[in-house]
Subunit: 214 residues, 2 copies
């Protein structure tokens, strides 16, 4: 198997998980280097030389070019490998898929990711629930909004947008997995759950799961 | 002037400011409805009917379709109005512009926006510096990473990507404006400052400024 792409990722990074889903959906050849985020690999000099932001994922192309930011990487892969598209062909559809993706990748995930959670933990050393309470607020706000959109939009199909998986599903499924890890009650989100289950029935989504990376 | 588009925005929203910059760069006909975010307009039932997420901006098209999320809106406008493009034509360039935009719109802005600032204020009622300290951490992390990328990448030109403004500049300038409002020291960021100044010399960026909306 030719290593066309190298992904600097992490088993527990939901942003790396998004990219992995799209790699698997498209059947692309890649190798993922798993950073130990809890151990601080992302802050070491050799990774900062790859991605000065110190966040995962980063995609290294066969010519050595490095791309960062999961949604930018996913759209690049879609531009370069048009088979099994993960973006709609029409401008309205693309806007909707981007918006749904950004409702996860801008408005839930960055507020709840590891660097912020660690900071909240340090701000409230005496409160064992501080991090969980923090995550619940932003996760609930985001899931409420996503459920409202997905449940009411006529473009919602078997998946977030129509009947084939898109970038929006690649963003949604890792966020649902995070919510389950935190044992959050997802029963108020029947549309999100139905879509996540449809995704998780697909081999590409199964192969991308964190527990399949170890 | 025909109101082709209606933007639900806010004078002090940097996400609405991004969309305004692109509207002005492209010379599009639009009308902005300014929500009073401090007064809670975004949580009122009539706005939630437009955008269930209760965030600005939202774009209403002439056929009544509503788009949300500023980067999705900007790329939609670029798809529909190709004159004065704000996205590169090549896949690598688009990936870079999206990544730079997301470094602002995912990794700085959502952690520091009003709903999170208000929550931090409420968590630390006795600490007048709590919000400023919070903002400084995430703003510094984001600006450090952006400066490193912009200063080292050969694709950086007069603007974030080459010599014409792109979505990345439309994201960067409002974030710089926010940093100035907070009286942050931006001297460690000479490339960011140089690009922001190049942008701010353009009439479209001037016309989009918050102080020009009142």
């Amino acid at each position: 198997m030719v290593d066309t792409y190298i992904v600097h990722g992490a088993v527990r990074s939901s942003a790396a998980y998004r990219v992995r889903i799209v790699m698997k959906l498209k059947g692309l050849a890649y190798r993922e280097i798993f950073l130990d985020l809890a151990g601080g690999d992302q802050n070491k000099e050799d990774y900062r030389a790859v991605n000065p932001q110190g966040l995962v994922p980063a995609l290294v192309c066969s010519d050595g070019a490095v791309l960062n930011q999961s949604m930018a990487i996913i759209e690049y892969l879609d531009d370069m490998h048009a088979e099994v598209p993960v973006m709609p062909r029409d401008a309205r559809g693309r806007a909707r898929v981007r918006a749904l993706s950004q409702m996860v990748a801008c408005d839930i995930h960055p507020i709840n990711n590891m660097r912020v959670r660690n900071h909240i933990r340090d701000l409230f050393p005496g409160d064992p629930d501080a991090v969980a309470n923090w995550m619940e607020i932003w996760s609930k706000a985001g899931f409420d909004a996503l459920e409202a959109r997905l449940a009411s939009d006529t473009e919602t199909g078997r998946f977030c947008h129509g009947d084939t998986p898109t970038m929006a599903d690649a963003c949604l499924v890792p966020q649902v997995a995070n919510a389950r890890l935190s044992q959050r009650d997802l029963s108020p989100y029947p549309t999100i759950l139905r879509i996540a289950e449809a995704c998780e029935a697909l081999p590409a989504f199964v192969a991308a799961r964190p527990d399949k990376q170890v």
